[in-house]
Structure formats: C-alpha cells, structure tokens
C-alpha cells in the first residue's frame, strides 16, 4: 500500500513537471518568441551604424609619421551664437550668448548619474581598457602635461592633458580626463571652450575633442556645458 502510494506521488510529480514545461513553451509561443529551444544561435553582432562621420585626420600625437587611428572619435561644435543642432525635427536653432556658457564642454559615454561636484583628476592611462595599450593608447595620448580645470566651482588640478590640432597642425584645443571621486568610471573628458577657433578641418568651432572608442562598436557620447553667471 505504501509503495503504491509512493509510486502514485511520483507519477503525479512527473505529470506536473511535464505540464509546467508545456506551459513555458506555450507562453513563449504566444509572445512570438523566435527562439526554438535547442536550436543553436550565432550572433554576428550589430552592424556599424551610419553616422555623419567623415574620414578624419585625427593623428597619433606621439609618432613622427601620421596615420589613422580607429580608437579615437573626434567631435567638434559651437556653443555660442546661433547654433544648429540636428535632431528628429531636422535642425533646431538655439541662440546662446558667449556669456551664457563659460569654461568647458564635457563628454562621457554615461548618459546620467555623473556627480559633477565631486569629480577628480583622472590618470593618463584611464581609458587604456577601451583603446588598448598600443601606440594610440590613452597613456600615449594624454601626454601634454597636466593643467587645472574649474568644474562646478571646484578647481581640479593635475588633470592629464592632450592638445588636439588646428588646421596648421598647431596644438590648440586643450582636453583633460576626469574621473569620479575615488577613481574609476565614469570618465569625463573636459575640453576648454575657445570662441570660434580654427579646427583641424580648417573650420570654425568653439570646441574640439577626441574620445576613446574600441574601434568595433558604435559608442554614444553625451555632451554637457556649464552655464556661466
């Protein structure tokens, strides 16, 4: 009697398990799942997105020759006067006076949660984990000594610096690397604002800066500027 009862319990458990399994598959089918259990998948990865990027002349700063790097993405723009920013409505115009903005443009691939009042000086090798340790490493890029930047009213000293070039090859645009209090990401790249300076493309911009990318995937960087008094 005991063994019959045990056997019945076991049978009930097996049936329950089968029903549960069936429920899982049915639910997946209702939600339009495309994964068939047991079918191996391979993922080729996302195709690089199309951007308005142009073949740039971002050069490696520590070599005598000039060659293209895939590990650094350049950005430039205006932050005063009539500014056109391309968005979903095509171009939206803003008109900011020079006194509206002051100091610096900041960029990071973290879209939120940067604690601006507690940023510290980064280290020259901070982004080596993104760009690698080759000739165009982070360490080999931020080689123009250090300088101070004022951020949220705080003076941050000894910030590793890189200077990107204008059209004549002269180091014009100062940029530094900051990190959160205590070290580590998110890293924030800070570029001084130069009113209508000549860019590497022989154009005019208020800022020009480079940011690290891994050369394979598209990365989005976000931009901030600090309002003046």
């Amino acid at each position: 009697m005991n063994s019959k009862r045990t056997f019945s319990l076991g049978l009930i458990s097996i049936v329950t398990a089968i029903i549960l399994f069936g429920f899982v598959f049915l639910t997946s089918a209702q939600q339009g799942a495309t994964v068939t259990p047991g079918t191996p998948e391979t993922w080729s990865g996302p195709s690089p997105g199309s951007t308005t990027a142009e073949g740039g002349n971002i050069t490696e700063v520590n070599m005598s020759g000039v060659s293209q790097t895939i590990h650094w993405q350049g950005f430039w723009g205006q932050v005063s006067g009539s500014i056109a920013l391309k968005d979903a409505s095509n171009n939206t115009m803003y008109n900011w006076t020079v006194t509206t903005v002051s100091g610096n443009v900041y960029t990071s691939n973290q879209s939120t949660g940067i604690s601006w009042s507690t940023l510290e000086a980064g280290e020259a090798g901070d982004c080596n984990n993104i760009v690698g340790t080759g000739a165009d490493s982070c360490t080999n890029t931020f080689t123009a000594g250090t300088r101070s930047f004022i951020v949220a009213g705080n003076t941050i000293s000894s910030v590793p610096r890189v200077q990107t070039f204008n059209y004549t090859g002269s180091g014009t645009f100062d940029e530094g690397i900051l990190e959160k209090s205590g070290g580590g990401p998110p890293w924030v790249y800070v570029a001084e604002i130069y009113n209508n300076a000549n860019t590497f493309k022989n154009g005019i911009a208020d800022f020009q800066m480079i940011v690290p990318v891994n050369g394979t995937n598209t990365v989005t960087y976000y931009f901030w500027l600090e309002l003046g008094v």
């Binding site: 398990a17 050369g215 598209t218 960087y221």
Partner: protein
C-alpha cells in the same frame, strides 16, 4: 528502490521546469520600445527599471535607423504598438541586424501598463492620471528608488486596477489630480496622496521623497514635457523649472535644500536655468547634445533624442491696446489662444514720446478661460501731455501659467497705443433668481436699465456641502430696457436648496463684448418652484379661460345673427 528513483526524477524535472518559468522574465538583455503612444514607452521603461535591465526607445523614424547601432546587447525584448508604431516590422529590422528578438504587441498604452504590472512581483505602486506627461516624469525617479511601478488610472480602467491591487498587500501613492470617481474607488486602498493643486508644489514634494531614500545634492532640471534616455533612469530626482521663468516656490526650495548642482535637459530652458542659478548660486550643467561613432573619424554634435509628451497648452497673447480719452483709462485685450484655461499677470509700462510715465497691471493672477478674449482697464494720468501730438507706447511683460503659483511662461513685447473715445453707458440690475425643481433649472433675471450691453453672470452655490461655481463662462447680449432670463442646468437636492436660500451672484457687463468693465455683485434670495406646483400656470390659465369665454360669446352672437337673417329671408319670400 524503483519508486525512489521515480520520485527523484520527478523532483529534478519539476525543478528544471520551474527554473525555466522564472527565467522567462530574464530571457532578454534590453527592452526596446517602438511606439508613438507615450504610455507604451513609459511603461516599458518603468518595467525595465524594475527588472534591472537597460532600455531604449524610438523617438522618430530617423532615430529608428540609428538605434540598432546603439544597442550592444544580443537579446532584445521589443514592445511594439499594434496601431502606432514609429516604423512597421521593427522585429524584422532588428533580426536582420543580427539581434535575437522577442516581441510583445501592445494593443494600447494603458492595457500594456497593467499587463506589465501583472508580470512584476512588487507591492509598491504610484498611481497617476494620463492627461499630461509631466506627472509621469515627476514620479519616475522616486518610483525607481522605491521600487514602485507606475499605473495610469482613469474612469475606464479604475475597476481593473482596483481588482488587480485589492488582493495584494500594496502600498499606494496617488500623485496629482485624479477625478472623483477614480479617487473614490481607490480610497479603499488607503493611499498616500500628494496633490497640492500645483504642478511645481507636487513635484517639490516628490524630490523631497526621493532624497529621503537617497541623499543626493544634485538634481535634473527640466519641464516634464519629454522623455530622454538619461532622464528616465532615476539616477537623481527631477526638479521642474518653468519654460521661461522659475516659480518662486522652486527657488525657495532649492535655496534651503542643500542642492549644489542642477543638470539641465532642454536646450530651450537656458534662460530659466540661468535665473535659478543667479538666485540660488547652484552650478548648472546643460546636457545639450550627443554624438556617436566607432572611431577613425569626426562628427558634429547633434541634439538629444527626445520623446515629446502631451503637455498643458499655454498661450496668452495681447490683442488691442488703446487709451480711452473719455475715461482716462488704458484699455487692453488679452487673448487665450488655446482650449484650456490659464492664469495671467501683466505689468505694462506706458511711454509718452519714449518717456516712462506710469506702470500699470494686475497685482494678483487673473483667470482667463479657454479661447477667451477679455478686456481690462487701468487708470493712467496723462493730463500733462498733449495727446494729439504725442506718440504712446506700451512695454508689456505678461506672466502666465496653468495655476496661480505656476506662472512659468512669459510674453515680452512693445505695442503702440491707439487713441479711442468710448463711454460705456450700460447699467443692469438683478431682479430675480428662481429654481424649477421639475426641470432642474436655475434662472436669473437681469434687467437692462441702460444701453444694449453684454453680461457674464457667475453664481456661487453650495452643492453637497462644497462651494460650486455656476456660469462664469458664457456672455449674453441684453437689449436695452428688457429683462433677460438666463437659465442654467443644475441639479439641487432639498438639502442643497436649504443651503442656498441666499445665493451670491456676480455679473461682469459692458457695452463691448470683450470689455466687460463694469461689475455688480450681491446676495439674492432663491425662489423655489416645487414639483407639481401649478401656481405659475395661474395667469396663463386665466388668459386661456378668457379666450374660451370670448370665443363662446362670439359663436353665440354669430349664431343669433344667422338665425335672424334666416327669418328675414323667409319673410320676404312670403
């Protein structure tokens, strides 16, 4: 032994299958929403935040082409609107780019909102109305840190929401205005309620609640009119500033709060943010753009990807402005160009030949109804000036907003002042106020003692214990020397009638429809016509009776005449 093996096997199978069931929710790396219905997008975002997954959402057709390159996760849970996707067949698009996609079709935002709630194992909920988006933006960060899901409730779905929540041990926060029926139903859940009747006051309360959970000296500044990727992650509380100016209660809160940094999202809000910075001393960082790339190139910075939300429409403008030589008053017409009411407060500088003479305006905010044109007058002393030879100009600064405390919009313009000679001779008197219980009709009788004019009556009644305003929107023409009866459909119980034995009536009136510059206000006794009361039929009945008698007499007379002529005729023939 065999039995034991069966049991062990069964237990193993049960464990595996239950693991499969639990893993369903975790079978994706990112949630992507393809919908123009903002509630679909918002619900998908809040769900992702609560299950700890990243998210993204399409903001335009153009953005949909860029989005795949911005996703670095393999398995996508795609929420797509059945009727309002930005682009069709996005699942196919993503799969073509190498993603593995599980798709959920949304029939409607509010349906999806509740469906996702059912999928979550949580007991904290925030309930809001879905008319305008700013409430949803305001509660988002608090919902993330308090692990609450946001539900949208209205008369259509409140029963479903109630049924869903009633059997759970839930903690509910109701934020902002919900209509009476919805509030009545949800009261049983003993919710906490935040509703000060003002968008900014409510929002400040939300920031305080966030900071009780996570102490932080940085806030995001915006208006609540759009969703942006970083904005929706809940990393810091969202503090509302006005579009053109910052309400005083926001300035006051920031000053005493210990907040050091504001991150502004909304490039058009710079002026407002600058004002806040100047008044409080906080640092303000504007998140103004973004750029994407994979290296080996350079690109210009572009604007942020924003999903715009329904917002309270505000647009008050100034029409004509004139100086009335006969009354020595500046007359100005304000126009509300949209279908919602607004409050406004003007300050007007009057210049004669570029010399500032006087500043006039309103000391308190004034209500202007949807699509209303209203005129106001302000006495201005120009007696020293030869108005025939002078040029008059007005420098107008107009603040307006959704409520008296939310005057976030401004209008700043200069207009030439015309000269007019108009004397308003209108004069009215309130002669009667009655209520017909049969027809549920409130009637006010207004006698015009002067020239033809226009009148806008407003009555203050007590209905079910609450002060209620009746009228105050329509303007009625009244010809000279007549009594005009104006009717209002109002249902008053016997208790209401007892509470309204004397009713306060205020009437704005004037000769010009958009210049109701005169006013009359008084308490007046309410006369009640009971149901089945025939007394009002007395005079009509008398008249009818008289008519019947006259007709009867006429018939008699005519018959007599007819008989008399007949007799005469018979006599002749003989």
């Amino acid at each position: 032994m065999k039995r034991k093996k069966v049991i062990i096997l069964a237990l193993i199978l049960m464990f595996i299958s239950s693991s499969q069931a639990l893993a369903l929710k975790d079978n994706f790396d990112i949630i992507v929403v393809n919908s123009e219905d903002w509630i679909d997008v918002y619900s998908g975002i809040m769900y992702a935040n609560l299950v700890g997954k990243p998210f993204n959402f399409i903001t335009s057709r153009e953005h949909s082409t860029r989005l795949p390159s911005l996703i670095d996760s393999k398995n996508v849970y795609l929420i797509e609107s059945e009727k309002l996707p930005f682009v069709m067949g996005y699942k196919d698009t993503l799969e073509g780019r190498g993603f593995s996609v599980e798709e959920k079709i949304s029939e409607s935002g509010k349906n999806l909102n509740l469906e996702l709630a059912r999928d979550l194992d949580i007991n904290n909920f925030v309930i809001i109305d879905d008319t305008y988006g700013y409430n949803a933006i305001s509660v988002c960060p608090y919902a993330v840190v308090s692990k609450s899901y946001v539900l949208f409730a209205d008369e259509e779905n409140v029963d479903d929401i109630y049924d869903f929540l009633k059997n759970k041990r839930v903690k509910v926060l109701i934020y902002g205005y919900l209509n009476e029926e919805v509030m009545g139903k949800l009261k049983e859940l003993e919710p906490e309620v935040i509703d000060y009747g003002d968008k900014f006051d409510n929002n400040i309360e939300m920031v305080k609640k966030y900071r009780q959970i996570r102490s932080i000296d940085q806030v995001t500044l915006t208006t609540g009119d759009f969703m942006e990727l970083g904005l929706m992650r809940g990393a810091e509380p969202i503090l509302f500033i006005g579009k053109d100016s910052v309400p005083e209660q926001v300035v006051g809160y920031v000053k005493g709060s210990g907040i050091k940094v504001g991150v502004l999202i909304g490039n058009e809000l710079i002026r407002s943010a600058q004002s806040l910075k100047a008044k409080t001393g906080i640092s303000v960082f504007l998140k103004f753009g973004q750029g994407s790339g994979a290296g080996a190139g350079s690109t210009a910075v572009r604007g942020l990807d924003l999903f715009h939300l329904p917002s309270y429409p505000l647009n008050v403008t100034v029409g004509d402005i004139a100086f009335n030589i006969l009354t020595n008053e500046l007359e100005i017409i304000y126009k509300n160009e949209v279908d919602t009411f607004s409050y406004f407060k003007p300050s007007i500088k009057v210049y004669v030949d570029d010399e500032l003479v006087q500043t006039v305006g309103e000391k308190e905010p004034v209500l202007i109804d949807a699509k209303e044109e209203r005129g106001s007058t302000y006495p201005v002393d120009l007696s020293e000036y030869d108005l025939g030879a002078s040029k008059l100009k007005a420098d107008i600064f107009l603040q307006y907003g959704e409520s008296k405390k939310s005057m976030e919009r401004t209008l700043d313009e200069e207009l030439d002042i015309n000269m007019v000679k108009i004397e308003d001779l209108s004069d009215i008197e309130i002669v009667d106020l009655g209520y017909d219980k049969d027809k549920n009709l409130l009637t006010i009788g207004i006698k015009n003692k002067g020239s033809s004019c226009y009148a806008k009556p407003t009555l203050t009644l007590t209905i079910m214990g609450d002060k209620t305003t009746v009228g105050g929107t329509d303007i009625y023409p009244i010809t000279e020397k007549v009594i005009k009866n104006i009717n209002f459909d109002v249902e008053l119980s016997d208790e209401d009638l007892r509470a309204n034995e004397n009713v306060r009536v205020e009437i704005l009136y004037g000769e010009r429809e958009n210049f109701l510059i005169n006013s009359i206000g008084q308490g007046i006794a309410l006369k009640v016509k009971e149901k089945g009361d025939l007394s009002s039929l007395f005079y009509p009945a008398i008249i009818l009776l008289l008519l019947i008698v006259i007709v009867f007499l006429l018939v008699l007379v005519l018959r007599k005449k007819g008989k008399g002529e007949e007799k005469k005729g018979l006599g002749k023939t003989k």
